[in-house]
């Protein structure tokens, strides 16, 4: 099996080569390359397919018990400082390789259908391939610096892909927001890496953990400083995995095309934060205070995300908040020390959430035939309904995903979520209670989404709904101009909304009455993803936890199956969490399927809570006022100081007579050369004079 390890570096390099080849082609022979759509996409898909095959080989070999493999070369050095780069193949990285390559492969197949009419089809494939390469490089990194490098590179790909439709204002704002917010997290991560290197002289994960524990144990470093470093490092995952308080970029990132929402903003990149916590687990474990911070951040984020998802009407925004909430579960699991449970949920979530996002893309694709290429209409669930009749494959796979995320056995999400809840109960019942409530809310909002999208009557041609949406959109834009600036109704529809329409799509000009099922390139990935979403949880049941046997924290003892009392505890825990999920589902069906309860009446009764949730707890408004406007104000003041004070004083001090007032006129008359010449001659004279003496 050695050769497969020696060539493991090909896994990130293959997609990189594809991206560079296509990218160079796009720059040099733009028109021709754009015409050869299928050639490019087949090349890129087959390269990622090759990487996937290799990854499966590595995973199989690791499951067989092959020893971890490490390969590195010296990358930078100065004096006695040496930094190497390379790759490490161990159970964790081989599992991540398989997750990333499979999801990427399926998303790329799906993209062919979804982006078929987009003029940027080839460019999109190049970006996707570049992203896959960076993400694969991240998961095989053997040290923190390499992680940081790829960490930023996936951030860059995310920036490029969110801003893919750059002519849309919302996408332009969203991509910058995503990059800058992530940079705030990277700022912490960078400082944390520097601090850890300063104290332990190493960038290796396990070495840092060992030495840090040793330093704290011997008392040569205070626990406070160690905790500070750990929390700084944790800031990276907070931004990348959209944890409170740096979660604001993820929902906006949905402005990107749906395939990347599935690949980057649900399955892989946002999970990188959890992956990094897992890699740094020996370090975090040695600093209990940081573990508490991680656990509570995760729990709060899980709750926050779910509480917002309940009222969202945009199908992708709803899924985005759900992703945030599920990432909160994973981070909480890491924080309570449930290493393998967190990674198990990462795996199951990657599959079922990718499927849900791709399903929503299929829905949007279908809706666009009816309402046109406008995200305001095509993504709003109030325009959907009854789609199961028109898109049966999408509906059934979406239902599987919904069941999986709601934690209904035997679907994948049940096993992983239950393991997390069990572990958090053992750590702190309050954490468990938050997770438990969130599980109920999750079942509610996911079934709300399923029912209002696929069941009931189709509302896509309903003019009143359309008018409501239009007004809402205009109101939002009116607010952006400043409150009371103008009556929203005075704005003409064409100028205001027309801009949002995507000129990259060639609009067919005719709208269909009914949506249609998507092409096979889109439904096939959905059907394939349904398999792991249903079955993959079975590798980690309490009756035989093969997952934990394979992936567990360094130095942790593993039992393949729980003991008898553990099992009975499992039945109680599992029973209660299935119970609350069923309550959530029942509520959702009463409100959105049978119409027995009117949701708007409940909303009217608790306007404060409803608005809080609908407006995402006002985070965007608060951050906008505090940070965006604040930094702009500060920058303007500094510029003022620079141009008035600094420039003024320096000019005055030396050159008052020359540069100010009358002096300036001489220069503008063209005598400047004369002055310069005088100075030059004087200086030369000085040289000769002083040289002679």
């Amino acid at each position: 099996m050695e050769p497969i390890y020696q060539y493991a570096w090909l896994i990130p390099v293959l997609p990189l080569a594809g991206a560079m080849l296509v990218g160079l082609g796009l720059i040099s022979f733009n028109k021709d390359v754009n015409r050869l759509r299928k050639v490019n996409s087949i090349l890129i898909v087959s390269l990622i397919g090759a990487a996937m095959t290799l990854s499966f080989g590595l995973l199989w070999s690791q499951i067989q018990g092959h020893a971890p493999y490490n390969q590195s070369f010296e990358w930078a050095s100065a004096g006695d400082f040496h930094l190497s780069m390379g790759y490490v193949i161990d159970p964790l990285s081989s599992l991540m390789l398989v997750i990333v390559t499979t999801v990427a492969f399926l998303v790329m197949v799906y993209t062919d259908g979804y982006m078929a009419h987009d003029s940027g089809y080839v460019r999109f494939y190049a970006y996707l391939s570049l992203f896959s390469s960076s993400m694969l490089g991240l998961v095989i990194s053997p040290n923190l610096v390499q992680v940081y490098i790829f960490w930023e590179l996936v951030g860059m790909c995310s920036y490029l892909l969110i801003g893919f439709w750059f002519y849309r204002k919302a996408a332009a704002d969203a991509c910058q927001k995503a990059f800058v917010t992530n940079r705030v997290g990277d700022f912490g991560l960078l400082l944390g890496i520097l601090g850890l290197y300063w104290s332990t002289r190493s960038f290796e994960f396990d070495v840092i953990g060992d030495r840090l524990q040793d330093l704290v144990a011997t008392g040569s470093m205070s626990g406070f400083v160690a905790g500070l470093f750990a929390i700084l490092v944790f800031l990276g995952p907070v931004a990348k995995s959209a944890q409170f308080p740096l979660h604001v970029w993820l929902p906006d990132a949905m402005e990107g095309p749906t395939p990347i929402s599935a690949l980057i903003h649900a399955a892989t990149m946002v999970a990188a934060g959890v992956f990094l916590i897992a890699r740094m687990f020996p370090m975090f474990e040695g600093v209990p205070a940081s573990m508490d911070v991680i656990a509570w951040t995760g729990a709060f984020t899980a709750f926050l995300g779910a509480s917002i998802a309940i009222t969202q009407n945009d199908i992708k925004k709803g899924l985005a908040y759900s992703t945030m909430s599920q990432l909160g579960y994973m981070v909480m699991a890491m924080g309570v020390g449930a290493y393998s449970a967190g990674l198990f949920h990462l795996m199951t979530h990657a599959y079922f959430k990718a499927m849900l996002f791709l399903g929503s893309g299929s829905v949007i694709h279908g809706m666009e035939e009816v309402v046109g290429h406008d995200p305001v209409y095509a993504q709003d669930m109030r325009m959907m309904g009854g789609l199961r009749k028109y898109m049966p494959m999408t509906a059934i796979t979406f239902l599987i995903g919904t069941l999986a995320i709601s934690g209904i056995p035997p679907f994948a999400g049940f096993w992983s979520k239950d393991e997390i809840l069990g572990a958090s109960f053992a750590a702190n019942p309050v954490l468990w209670a938050i997770g438990y409530l969130t599980a109920g809310a999750t079942a509610f909002y996911m079934f709300r989404m399923y029912f209002s999208t696929f069941e009931g009557q189709f509302r896509g041609t309903n003019a009143t709904v359309k008018q409501t949406l239009k007004n809402e959109q205009l109101q939002k834009m009116g607010l952006a101009f400043g409150p009371g600036a103008m009556n929203p109704k005075e704005l003409t529809m064409d100028t205001a909304i027309g801009e949002a329409v995507d000129p990259g799509h060639d609009d067919h000009g005719h709208h269909a009455e009914k949506p249609h099922e998507s092409p096979w390139t889109m439904t096939l990935p959905l059907l394939i993803l349904a398999v792991p979403s249903t079955l993959v949880g079975l590798v980690g049941t309490p009756f035989g936890n093969y997952f934990e046997a394979f992936i567990h924290a360094p130095g942790e003892a593993v039992h393949l199956a729980a003991e008898a009392e553990g099992l009975s505890e499992f039945y109680v825990m599992a029973g209660s969490s299935v119970g609350i999920s069923l309550i959530g589902i029942t509520l959702a069906s009463l409100m959105y399927l049978r119409g027995k309860i009117d949701p708007s009446a409940i909303a009217a009764k608790i306007p404060f809570l409803y608005n809080l949730s609908l407006n995402k707890w006002y985070f965007d408004e608060i951050y906008d006022e505090l940070f965006v406007r604040g930094s702009r104000r500060l920058a303007r003041q500094v510029l003022e100081v620079d141009s008035k004070v600094v420039d003024g004083v320096v000019n005055l001090a030396g050159l008052a007579t020359l540069l100010s007032g009358e002096g300036l006129k001489y220069f503008e008359n063209g005598r400047a050369q004369f002055y310069a010449l005088i100075i030059f001659v004087a200086v030369l004279g000085l040289v000769i004079f002083s040289g002679a003496t």
């Binding site: 720059i27 733009n30 010296e74 990358w75 930078a76 050095s77 100065a78 004096g79 400082f81 610096v145 940081y148 930023e152 590179l153 750059f166 002519y167 204002k169 996408a171 332009a172 990059f179 800058v180 940079r183 700022f187 960078l190 520097l194 601090g195 290197y197 300063w198 002289r201 060992d210 030495r211 040793d214 330093l215 011997t218 040569s220 470093m221 801009e499 702009r632 500060l634 920058a635 500094v638 510029l639 620079d642 600094v646 004083v649 320096v650 000019n651 050159l655 020359l658 540069l659 300036l664 220069f667 063209g670 002055y675 310069a676 030059f680 200086v683 000769i688 002083s690 040289g691 002679a692």
Partner: protein, 528 residues
């Protein structure tokens, strides 16, 4: 045929200057011969540099190589003394590369082309002379020589306020260079022997008080050039008015002269003063990073925005020079080369954008990415390089400075924490202003007012070629930094060792507690 005794550096410096003298008598009817002639001269000279580097330069030798010395004006003890070590060589290579590309970038210049290309070729030689001379008087002369062509290039081909800008530039720099002269003469005449030779000067043993005075003099001159706040205000004016090729020289090479001279003279010749003043340099570096980033964010004029971003990036050079570690100093040199490449590429793209939109104000642009996809993608790539994206050279440089300074044992822990924390804020500020800039130029719906009266054509092959040539080394260094660092590694190590001898705490080997404890832990067999 070409032996080690061949005067490589003299040839490299004098060839473009001599060739420039032929420009006035070149037969040239349509104005095209001159530019081809200059480009070929540039290419030949760059090839000479690369050949000399490849055959004559030894990476592992920290000393001076390619040495030449001829008496020039014996009465003044002025020698034509040249040489290149690890500090000079990367910058000489950079100069040859950037200047040749700048000549190619100047293709559309139609106004007085003979004079323009004449000045460009004189610049070529003058700039290399600054990095190659090993004699204080000669250094001063070439420092001044290179000012004259740049003054004319600014004042004849610049924007509307070009005369004001050019005059401000020359007054600042020439004023600053007076300090070089005074300080240099003082050093030369100090002691028993009168010498202008760099190595002899570095070997002289100056008392601390004297060093501090001379150090301050040099610092003022180089602070203008680098620039260091508050002596930077000539730069936005000059950069705001310059045309793209001149811009590439200003940002790509002239700023580096300040950093080079700081290392060459302040650090290498006056190490005791450097040990005293270094904390101030660090503070100035942090001020540069944050202050200039904020000003850049508020700027609405594209050229001035990038100009301020240059100032911000130079802050890392200062911190690296003052770090007293191999890694930090190495990062400072790397940052100079890296910014030379990135700054030149950004300014070239700004020029290319201006050629199409005919405005530099961000408010008058918007949504031009649709019609100029190639310029859009090149601008994005170079902006990402400038905001220190990993995989590009800027990241490696900043990381090395960060790690070098954070692990420097010359400063107290509190000072380091504050400095690294503040400098890292630059990591957040840089993407804010660069990405805002991209968003305002290229993203969003098209600005109808702009497109109604401007024809937005996409990049031509020449422009793509220039940016591609710049991106290749940027990405190459980013992927494998040893490509560049090995050229000067032995030199920076030697210099750091010399500097560390001067820091009292380091000389007495007072290892700080944590490092001490770590020393014990490291010996524990379990952790091997």
């Amino acid at each position: 045929m070409l032996t080690a005794n061949f005067p490589w550096l003299t040839t490299i410096i004098l060839f473009p200057i001599a060739a420039s003298l032929l420009i006035p008598i070149l037969p040239d009817k349509d104005g095209k011969t001159v530019r081809w002639y200059s480009l070929i001269v540039g290419l030949i000279d760059f090839a000479l540099i690369v050949y000399a580097f490849y055959t004559q330069y030894n990476f592992s030798d920290p000393g001076l190589q390619l040495v030449e010395s001829y008496p020039w004006v014996p009465q003044l003890d002025l020698n034509w003394s040249l040489g290149a070590d690890g500090l000079s060589m990367p910058l000489i290579l950079l100069t040859g590369f950037i200047t040749t590309l700048a000549i190619l970038a100047a293709w559309p210049v139609t106004f007085k082309p003979r004079l323009f290309y004449f000045l460009m070729l004189v610049m070529f030689g003058g700039q290399i002379a600054v990095f190659a001379v090993q004699d204080m008087l000669l250094f001063f002369l070439s420092w001044e020589l290179e000012l004259v062509p740049i003054y004319f290039l600014l004042s004849i081909w610049g924007g509307k306020k070009r005369l004001y800008a050019a005059t401000k530039f020359i007054l600042y720099t020439a004023g600053g260079s007076l300090f070089i002269l005074v300080a240099g003469l003082a050093m030369a005449f100090y002691g028993d022997t009168v010498t202008f030779d760099f190595r002899a000067l570095a070997a002289k043993d100056f008392p601390l008080n004297f060093q501090l005075w001379v150090y301050t003099g040099f610092l003022i001159a180089y602070a203008v050039k680098l620039p260091i706040i508050p002596l930077h205000t000539w730069l936005p004016d000059a950069h705001g008015e310059a045309t793209a090729p001149v811009h590439m020289l200003l940002a790509g090479i002239l700023l580096k002269m300040g950093g080079y001279a700081l290392i060459r003279m302040n650090a290498e010749m006056l190490p005791a003063a450097h040990a005293t003043v270094a904390p101030a340099l660090v503070i100035l570096g942090v001020v540069n990073i944050i202050y200039a980033a904020l000003t850049s964010f508020a700027q609405r004029n594209l050229k001035r925005k990038i100009a301020y971003s240059s100032i911000s990036h130079m802050g890392f050079v200062l911190i690296g020079i003052a770090s007293f570690t191999d890694l930090g100093l190495s990062g400072a040199v790397l940052q100079m080369v890296s910014h030379g490449l990135i700054g030149a590429s950004l300014f070239f793209l700004v020029g290319a954008t201006y050629d199409r939109t005919h405005t530099l104000m961000l408010d008058e642009m918007g949504g031009v990415g649709k019609q100029m996809p190639k310029i859009f993608s090149m601008f994005t790539a170079c902006s990402l390089a400038s905001l220190a994206l990993p995989g590009m050279s800027g990241f490696v440089a900043e990381l090395m400075v960060f790690v070098g300074f954070a692990t420097s044992d010359a400063y107290s822990l509190t000072f380091r924490i504050i400095v690294v924390g503040l400098a890292a804020i630059g990591v957040i500020l840089t993407p804010i202003y660069l990405l805002s800039m991209l968003r305002e130029i290229f993203y969003g719906p098209e600005n109808k007012e702009l497109t109604s009266h401007e024809v937005l054509v996409d990049a031509e092959p020449r422009e793509v070629f220039i940016i591609a040539s710049l991106l290749v080394p940027i990405i190459g260094i980013g992927f494998y930094p040893k490509l560049l660092t090995q050229i000067y590694d032995s030199k920076t190590q030697q210099l750091t060792a010399r500097l560390r001898d001067q820091v009292p705490t380091l000389a007495h080997q007072q290892v700080e507690p944590i490092a001490q404890a770590w020393g014990d832990v490291r010996q524990a067999p379990a952790l091997r």
